[in-house]
């Protein structure tokens, strides 16, 4: 059966694979049999192998080296290029994170291939679905040269378990000098949240400039906690210092696609929509009846967030 390489994304805290990896394994099965590629520091594969087997990886290529960790992106592209040469896969699927896109681009040049970024679906014939213009247009595209490379947009495919043999094969890595030009000196985590991870949460409650202060974000957190949701923020809220950047949703923040997205005091600028437009259900609370966010909303409340949201939180909590 045709082989598809899937690049594994490991959670930064070492807790295992990220959900994006399971999504990529699931999407790859449309094209053939997925082989997971683990490129990271020594010991990485051991922590993720079980999850890879559970989601259908027939093989696990283990490319472990301190160099992969010590230099930015380029070593991972080199590992994938080596495997593309040796294994002649029908395609490569990579999670669509900033790092994933850089890897895809480098791999395309190395292997003389075309690539498609931010795909939401891959069909058996290799045709990919992409959303363009902040979600306003749906596009079908195809790679016409080389080994097709896809980066898969988070939360567009539901991970489905399927037993795989996850047969391990060690890949001998010798990273070239060319790939060792940008050194990663330090990885700094500034914000941790006890709430669900924003990009993986089923429900996201986001606050915008309308929340008016950092203290008042407790209104947003209250609603989020009553729903078991993650908290997000617009860039205006982040720029105003109400909430940290790591919670920004949008073009230059995170892309979310939850079951439910609640936008509170957010006008709905195009750059914000770019990060949340594919949410299944959208609820908006805004005091301006003309706010563009209402164009997207399945359910909108025109009203003051300071009265509507705490009351809603109270009622949701009372129902439990």
């Amino acid at each position: 059966m045709a082989e598809v390489l899937v690049l594994v994304e490991v959670a930064p805290d070492g807790s295992g694979v990220r959900k994006t990896t399971l999504e990529a394994l699931t999407a790859a099965r449309a094209l053939g049999e997925p082989s997971a590629v683990v490129a990271g520091a020594p010991g990485t594969a051991a922590s993720v192998k079980a999850a890879l087997a559970e989601y259908g990886a027939a093989r696990v290529y283990v490319a472990e080296s301190d160099d992969v960790d010590a230099y930015l992106v380029a070593p991972k592209a080199e590992v994938l290029a080596q495997l593309v040469r040796e294994k002649s896969p029908v395609a490569v699927v990579i999670p669509s994170t900033p790092e994933g896109k850089e890897i895809a681009g480098r791999l395309a040049i190395k292997t003389g291939s075309g690539f498609l970024t931010d795909v939401t679906e891959i069909a058996a014939d290799g045709t990919a679905t992409q959303v363009a213009f902040a979600g306003a247009t749906i596009v079908h595209s195809k790679v016409t040269v080389g080994t097709p490379i896809y980066t898969l947009r988070g939360n567009s495919v539901t991970p489905e378990a399927a037993a795989g043999a996850a047969e391990e094969e060690t890949v001998t890595v010798s990273i070239s000098e060319a790939a060792k030009q940008t050194r990663v000196v330090e990885r700094v985590v500034e914000q941790k949240s006890s709430r669900p991870e924003l990009t993986e949460a089923a429900i996201v409650v986001s606050g915008g400039r309308g929340v008016a202060s950092a203290e008042n974000f407790s209104v947003i957190e209250g609603l989020a906690d009553s729903l078991g949701a993650a908290v997000g923020a617009s860039r205006a809220a982040v720029d105003s210092g109400f909430y940290p950047h790591s919670f920004q949703v949008g073009q230059t923040g995170k892309t979310v696609s939850p079951q439910l997205y609640v936008a509170v005091g957010i006008s709905g600028a195009i750059q914000h929509r770019a990060g949340m437009q594919t949410s299944k259900t959208i609820i908006a609370v805004n005091k301006d009846t003309e706010a563009p966010i209402f164009e997207l909303a399945d359910f909108g409340v025109v009203g003051d967030l300071n009265t509507v949201v705490p009351a809603a939180t109270e009622q949701i909590t009372a129902r439990k």
Binding site: G105, T137, A178, V185, E190
Partner: protein, 259 residues
């Protein structure tokens, strides 16, 4: 320090944007074309580096003749000169092909530092700097929220989900900027007047020694097969809060079996 800043002209993300049904490429002719907003951060950073290190800032754009507007904007912010690569044959090129043209143009320029935006709002590929790094064999420091120049060493804080990565590389190098890096300046009246006199060199594929048959729609590495507007969501419900807004909201959540 010689700096090249890459600037792209794109259809305004705030206006209606579309693909051209004739060949499925981005419709640029009828669009309200503006400078890619992410590139303003790149220009600002290039100017900041020049102010501390000396040298020259050159704007490089690959695009149709209308892209001169984006170039003027960059020059009015304070860049010194510009190179505009324009050629009918480039129309419809994919990112891989465009990167070959940009790499060829860069090879004719003298630079220590290339600054790019993190992504263009029309294609949203955000891979150009990585493609160029790969082609030119020079380091890429991506997603910079902070850039420090220390002689020939570059230090970058790469914006990540929950913090940053400290990166380090030697010049010549490519830095792509995130929107957390600075606050782009507005062109002053003086800047706008001065921009009119700044040199803009126009180059064709022939000038760069790029074979026209290697670019353009016909030899692109990927192709758009078809496109459609996103199916409209069913008409949403909008209620005005008259003391019962929260109740109605929770009622909706209950009907959706969310609570």
């Amino acid at each position: 320090m010689n700096i090249v800043v890459l600037v792209k002209q794109v259809p305004d993300s705030g206006s209606e944007r579309a693909l051209d049904s004739a060949d499925n490429t981005v419709a640029r002719a009828g669009a309200d074309n503006v400078i890619n907003e992410m590139d303003e951060y790149a220009i600002e950073e290039a100017l900041t580096v020049k102010e501390s290190q000396g040298g020259e800032v050159t704007v490089l754009t690959i695009g149709p003749s209308t892209a001169t507007d984006a170039i003027r904007k960059a020059l009015s912010m304070g860049a010194d000169k510009a190179v505009h690569v324009t050629d009918e044959a480039i129309h419809g090129s994919c990112a891989v092909q465009t990167s070959a043209v940009i790499a060829a143009a860069l090879s004719q320029l003298e630079y220590d530092l290339v600054v790019c935006g993190a992504e263009s709002t029309d294609g949203q590929v955000s891979v150009m700097p990585a493609l160029l790094s790969e082609r030119l064999g020079i380091p890429h420091l991506s997603g910079a929220r902070k850039l420090t120049v220390e002689g020939t060493t570059l230090h970058v804080e790469r914006q990540t989900d929950g913090g940053y990565w400290a990166l380090e590389a030697q010049t010549p190098a490519i830095v792509s900027t995130w929107d957390t890096i600075n606050e782009p300046r507005y062109p002053s009246f003086k800047g706008i007047m001065a921009a009119k006199k700044k040199p803009v060199t126009t180059m064709s594929l022939g000038d760069l020694g790029v074979d026209p048959s290697t670019v353009g729609l016909a030899s692109a590495t990927s192709q758009v097969l078809d496109f459609a507007g996103r199916p409209p969501k069913g008409e949403g419900v909008k209620v005005v809060d008259e003391g019962d807004g929260a109740e109605k909201l929770v009622g909706y959540l209950a009907a959706q079996k969310i609570v």
